[in-house]
Symmetry: C2
Subunit: 661 residues, 2 copies
C-alpha cells in the first residue's frame, strides 16, 4: 500500500529530476505543493485524462506557472497523453513541456501561466463562465454545467496588483466554486518575504468577501482534505492558506530561495532521495504508484455519468443541448454568415456619420442578437465605450445576464476575458479607453500567445479625444498594439468599416482583436459592394484616381483628411490614390498580388495617422513620408489639436507634393 507521502514524492522527484536534466527550472514550488496537489487531484478534481476537453471537467490553474513541473507531473501520473519522455524533454524545443505551462502544448493545461497574477485572474474568468453558463443552460433536474475551478498561487501572485482586481470581483460575484490554495512558504526570489510582503492576506481576502481557511498545514493531507470539504460547502470563493516549506524534501535547501528557481544539483537530489526514502532512479515511477495515481478509470466513469445526464437533457431540451454543444465547441451559429451580411448591408444603407465608438455600438446592436455567447463589458466606461446595446443585461447574483461592469480594472478585465474564453461557451468583449490598453497590455499579449479570440474595444483613440489631455491621448498605442504577434488591431474609419472589423473579429478562432475607435464623429464613406468586401483584407483602395502620382494611406479618423487632400490635390491637377488600411496585421497576411494592387511599386506613399510616424515606414519606406505625431498631445478641443499638430489639408497637400518631386 503506497502512502500519500510517497505519491506526493513522485511529483517531487519528477520535478527535481526534470529540472536537473533541463539544467534550469523551478523545483521549489512543485516540491512544496506536492502534498496539496495529491489530495486535490486524487480525491477531488473531476477530470477525465482521456478527454481533456470534456466540458464539465473541473478547471485547474497553476497561477504560479514557474512551478510547471507540478502540473506536468500531475498530468503524467494521472494518465494524460503526456509520457515520461515528454517529461524528460522538459524545456526543450518542440516538446509538450515548455518552461511554463503553455496552453495548447500539453493536454490538460487550461491556460498559459507564468506572468504572475494572471492565472488566478483567468481562473476568476473561468469560474464566472461556469456560473453564467449554468444560469443559461441548467434546468430543473438537469445540472449539466457544474464544476469547480481550482487555483494554486504563490506570494508573487498575491503581490501583483491584478490579484486585487480579480479577487475583488470574485468576491462581488460570489464565485463559490472558485477555490484557491495559497502556497504560503514565506519565500520569494529576493529571499524571505518579510521585508516586502507583510499583508495580512487572510484579512485582505475577507475584505473581498471570500471565505478564508487559515493556518492549514500544506504537508498534512488530513488538514488539506478538511479544508477542501469546507471550501466546497461555502457560498463564496475560498482561499485556503497553506503553510508550506518551499523545496520540501531537499535536506539542505528547503525553506530557502536557493530552491526556488534553479536545479538542486546532483548531490542535493541524492540527499533528497535519502531523506524522502525514494530509491528509484530518475524518471522511474513504481507501477503501484502509477496505479494509485491513475485517474483514467474514475475519470472515464465520471464522464460517462455526465454523458448520461446530458443525454437526458438532450431528450428534454434538444435545442438547448445543441446550442450548448455548439457554443462549447466555439462554432458560430449556422445562420451567422447570413445575419452578418444582412447587418452590414443595413449599416451601409443607413450611411450614418457617427463616432466609430458609436459605429461599434451599432454593429453590436446588429450582430449581438445572433450571438447569445456574446458577453460584453467595460472597465467602468460603458457610456463612453458604448459597449452596451439594447439587449445588454447586467449580470446578477445568479449569473444571469450578458454584460459586466468590471469597475476600474483594465488588466483584470482583460485577463478575466481570457479566462472566460478559455473556459468555452462564451465570447467576451470588453472596453476601456485606448490609453488604458497599457494597463491591460500583457493580457492582450497572453490572448495572442494562447491563440484565443476575445475582442478588446478601445475607444478615444487619439488626440481626437481632446480636452482630457496627454495622459488620455494615445499617440504610440495603436502602433505598439499592431506589433503584438497574432493580434489584429483594427482602426475603422466609419460605420461600414466598424461593422466589418467586428465581423472579422467575431470570426477569428485563434486570434484576438483590438478595435480602435474614435470619440469624435467621422463621416460615412460611400463604397461599392466590392470595396465593402475588401475591407476584410485589412487594406484596400478607397478612392482611386487615374494616373495617380502618389498613394495616401490613412486609417480611422484620418481617412476624412486623406479624402479632402485628394480633392485639393485633384484641384491642382495632381491625382492621388487613397488607401484605407484599417488593419495592417490582416493586410500583411494578404498575398503579394493583393498588396501590390493596393500599393503599387514605384508610386510614392504618404501615410496619415494621428500617432507615432515610425510605424508607417514599413509601408512608405524611406522615400515616402508620414503625417503623424512624434510627441505627446496636449489638452485642448480636438479640432484645435488636429490643426496644431499638422493634420490639415494644406500640410498633407504640401507633403504629398514633396514626395512626388
Amino acid at each position: 500500500m503506497v502512502t500519500r507521502t510517497e505519491l506526493a514524492n513522485a511529483i517531487r522527484f519528477l520535478s527535481m529530476d526534470a529540472v536537473e536534466k533541463a539544467k534550469s527550472g523551478h523545483p521549489g514550488a512543485p516540491m512544496g505543493m506536492a502534498d496539496i496537489a495529491e489530495v486535490l487531484w486524487r480525491d477531488h478534481l473531476k477530470h477525465n485524462p482521456a478527454n481533456p476537453s470534456w466540458s464539465n471537467r473541473d478547471r485547474f490553474v497553476l497561477s504560479n506557472g514557474h512551478g510547471s513541473m507540478l502540473i506536468y507531473s500531475l498530468l503524467h501520473l494521472t494518465g494524460y497523453d503526456l509520457s515520461i519522455d515528454d517529461l524528460k524533454n522538459f524545456r526543450q524545443l518542440h516538446s509538450k513541456t515548455p518552461g511554463h505551462p503553455e496552453y495548447g502544448y500539453a493536454p490538460g493545461v487550461e491556460t498559459t501561466t507564468g506572468p504572475l497574477g494572471q492565472g488566478i485572474t483567468n481562473a476568476v474568468g473561468m469560474a464566472l463562465a461556469e456560473k453564467m453558463l449554468a444560469a443559461q443552460f441548467n434546468r430543473d433536474g438537469h445540472t449539466i454545467v457544474d464544476h469547480n475551478t481550482w487555483v494554486f498561487l504563490g506570494d508573487g501572485c498575491l503581490m501583483e496588483g491584478i490579484s486585487h482586481e480579480a479577487c475583488s470581483l470574485a468576491g462581488t460575484w460570489g464565485l463559490n466554486k472558485l477555490i484557491a490554495f495559497w502556497d504560503d512558504n514565506g519565500i520569494s526570489i529576493d529571499g524571505h518575504v518579510e521585508g516586502w510582503f507583510t499583508d495580512n492576506t487572510p484579512a485582505r481576502f475577507e475584505a473581498y468577501g471570500w471565505q478564508v481557511i487559515k493556518n492549514v498545514n500544506g504537508h498534512d493531507p488530513v488538514e488539506i482534505a478538511t479544508a477542501i470539504e469546507t471550501a466546497k460547502k461555502g457560498d463564496r470563493p475560498t482561499l485556503i492558506c497553506c503553510k508550506t516549506t518551499i523545496g520540501f524534501g531537499s535536506p539542505n535547501k528547503q525553506g530557502t530561495h536557493d530552491v526556488h528557481g534553479a536545479p538542486l544539483g546532483a548531490a542535493e537530489i541524492a540527499a533528497a532521495r535519502e531523506t524522502l526514502n525514494w530509491p528509484h532512479a530518475p524518471f522511474e515511477i513504481p507501477a503501484e504508484i502509477y496505479a494509485a495515481w491513475s485517474a483514467r478509470d474514475k475519470g472515464a466513469l465520471a464522464e460517462i455519468a455526465w454523458n448520461k445526464q446530458f443525454d437526458a437533457y438532450r431528450a428534454a431540451y434538444p435545442e438547448l443541448a445543441a446550442e450548448f454543444e455548439r457554443r462549447m465547441q466555439g462554432e458560430l451559429p449556422a445562420a451567422w454568415a447570413e445575419a452578418r451580411d444582412a447587418a452590414i448591408a443595413k449599416i451601409v444603407d443607413a450611411a450614418q456619420t457617427v463616432a466609430t465608438r458609436k459605429a461599434s455600438q451599432i454593429a453590436l446592436e446588429a450582430f449581438s442578437p445572433s450571438l447569445p455567447e456574446f458577453v460584453g463589458g467595460s472597465a467602468d466606461l460603458t457610456g463612453s465605450n458604448l459597449t452596451n446595446w439594447s439587449g445588454s443585461k447586467w449580470i446578477d447574483a445568479a449569473g444571469n445576464g450578458n454584460y459586466i461592469s468590471y469597475g476600474v480594472r483594465e488588466f483584470g478585465m482583460a485577463a478575466i476575458m481570457n479566462g472566460m474564453t478559455l473556459h468555452g461557451g462564451l465570447r467576451p468583449y470588453g472596453g476601456t479607453f485606448l490609453m488604458f490598453s497599457e494597463y491591460a497590455r500583457n493580457a492582450l499579449r497572453m490572448a495572442s500567445l494562447m491563440k484565443i479570440n476575445p475582442v478588446f474595444v478601445f475607444t478615444h483613440d487619439s488626440i481626437g479625444l481632446g480636452e482630457d489631455g496627454p495622459t488620455h491621448q494615445p499617440v504610440e498605442q495603436v502602433a505598439t498594439l499592431r506589433m503584438i504577434p497574432n493580434h489584429h488591431t483594427w482602426r475603422p474609419c466609419d460605420t461600414t468599416e466598424a461593422a466589418v472589423a467586428w465581423a472579422h473579429a467575431i470570426e477569428q478562432k485563434t486570434t484576438p482583436s483590438s478595435l480602435i475607435l474614435s470619440r469624435q464623429n467621422l463621416p460615412f464613406v460611400q463604397r461599392d459592394a466590392q470595396q465593402v468586401q475588401d475591407i476584410a483584407r485589412g487594406g484596400y483602395v478607397l478612392r482611386d484616381a487615374a494616373d495617380a502620382k502618389a498613394v495616401l494611406i490613412a486609417t480611422g479618423s484620418e481617412i476624412e483628411l486623406a479624402l479632402k487632400a485628394q480633392e485639393a490635390l485633384a484641384a491642382e491637377g495632381i491625382a492621388v490614390r487613397v488607401v484605407s488600411m484599417p488593419c495592417t496585421n490582416v493586410f500583411d497576411q494578404q498575398d503579394k498580388a493583393w498588396q501590390q494592387s493596393v500599393l503599387p511599386a514605384g508610386l510614392p506613399r504618404l501615410a496619415i495617422e494621428a500617432g507615432v510616424p515610425d510605424f508607417w515606414r514599413k509601408y512608405v519606406g524611406l522615400e515616402g513620408d508620414v503625417v503623424g505625431i512624434a510627441h505627446f498631445g496636449e489638452s485642448a478641443p480636438a479640432g484645435v489639436l488636429f490643426k496644431e499638430f499638422g493634420f490639415t489639408v494644406d500640410n498633407v497637400v504640401a507633403k504629398t507634393k514633396n514626395i512626388i518631386q
Copy 2:
C-alpha cells in the same frame, strides 16, 4: 466673517464654472471633496505659494486627477501663480490648466495624475523619499526634512491593481507621514458602485498595516479636522474614509454619476447658486474669501522659519547642507564627469565578456560610489536583474539604506520610482524582466510625459533567456518601448556600451531611460577612444570596411552575429560595414550629418535584432531587409532558439547578398 462652507463653495463654483466654460470636465469630485480640501489646505498643509519648489513643503497629490479643477481652485485661491484667467482657460491649448493636472504646467502640481491608481503610488514614492532623505540628512536637533504627503483618491484608484501594490508597500515601510483621503461617494462612471466594488476598504487597508479612520463625514469640517489630527499622530500610513456626496451642492444631480464627468449645464449651475447661496458671478470670488484662503503670509513665514533652521544646519554641517541642496536641485556631483570617465576607461581596459545584465552591475559598481542619490531596487529579481552592487544596503524600518526589494510589483515599483524622482533628492533605478515592462508600461510613459529621469533596468531581453519560454521572451517589447516619446531605450552589446548607456541615463534631466540587458554572455568588443565617445550618439560605426557594399545594423546580443557575418562576407570578398545602434532614440536626435555618416545614402542596409522586424524599416527602408522575429518565441536553450529562428551567420550572409543584388 466667512464660513468654512463658503470657502469650500468657492472651490465648487470655480469648478462648476470652469467646466461649464470649457464645455467638458469633471465637476463631481471637486464639489464632493471641497470641504475636505478646505480643512486640509487652510489648516494643515505646509506650503508656500510663492515658492512651489521649497524642499520641505508638504506634497499634495490629487490621485483622482480628473477632478483637476479642485487643485487648480486651491492653487489659485491660496495664492500660487495661477490667475483667474488661467482658470478661465481650463482645458485650452497652451494654458496652465489642462484637463488633468500636468506636472510642469501649473505651479504646485506635484505630479501628473489621471491614469487612476498612479497618483497614490507616486505619493507612496514621495513619502518614501521623505523618509529616506530624513534618515540621510537629519541630525540631532536639525530636522530639515520633515513633511507630510497628502493624497486625495477615489473609488477608481482603489479598484486599480496598482493601489494594492503601492499601499501594501506603504504599510510595510511604515510611511506614517502619508495620509490619504478616500472620497467614498459610492459612484463611479457606470453608476452606483455596489455592482462592482464591494470591498471592505477599511479592512483591506488594515490588512496592509495602515491606520484607518472610518466613517468620517466628508462635509463636516470638525470631523475632518479630528481625523487629520489623529492621522498626524499615527505611526503608520493613514487612510481617512470620508463619506461624501459627489457633486455636493448641485440640487438635482448630486449623488449621481451625471455629475461625474460632464458640465452641469447653465440651469443646474444657477440652481446650485440658489442652493448654496452663492450670488457671485462666474469666476468672481469676493475679496474676503480670497483673504481667508490666502496662504501667502503663512507660507512665507513657514519657509522663513525653515530657512533659519537650515542656516543653523548649514553652520553645523556645511558639507551635508551643500550636498542636500545639490541633490534637491537635481545636479550631479561636481566630480561626476571625472568619475564617469575614469570608470568607463577602467571598464574598457578590463575587456570583460559577460552578460549585459552583469555589465550593468559592473557599471553600477563603478558609478554608484559617486552618486549617493542613487536608490536601486528590483521587483523581486535582484539576483537576476543584478541591480545591486557591493554598496547596496536594503532599506530598514528607519529609512536607512539605498536598495529596495519592491516585491513582485512591477507597476508599483515604476510609479513609486516616479514619485521618488518627483520628490527630489534621490535618483531611483529599478529592475525587472523586460517582459514585465508591460505590467509597468503606463508608468514608463508617465515618466516620459512628466519629463523626469528615473532609470528602468530590464533584463532577459530576448529569446536569449531560453527555457522560460514565450511568456518570458520579449519579442515586441524593445520596439514598443522605443516608440514612447521622450524615452531613451538603450540596448547595449557589451560592458563598454552598458557603461556609456548608464552614464547617459544618469546625465538626463528631463528624459527617463530604459536599459535593455541580456541574460546571456556577450563578447567584449574592442573600440578606439573615438568610438567609445560615439556610443553616446546612439548609433555609430563599430567596424567599417573599405568599399562597403552594405551596412549591417545591430543591437545588443546581435552585434556578435553581425561581426561574424561581416567576417564571413569578407571571406567571400564582400565588404560590409557594421553599425551598432544601442539607442535609436538618441541616434534620431543627432544631426543629419552624423546620421548620414553612419548610414550613408545609397548603401543597402540589413538590420539584425531578435525582435519584431517592422520597427527597423525606418532605417532599412523597403529595399533593405531585417533579420528579426515576427512571432512568439519557444521554450528551449537559447542557442537552439537563435539557430531555429534564423540568427545564424549563414542566414545573415544570405540576406545581405540579397539586398546587395
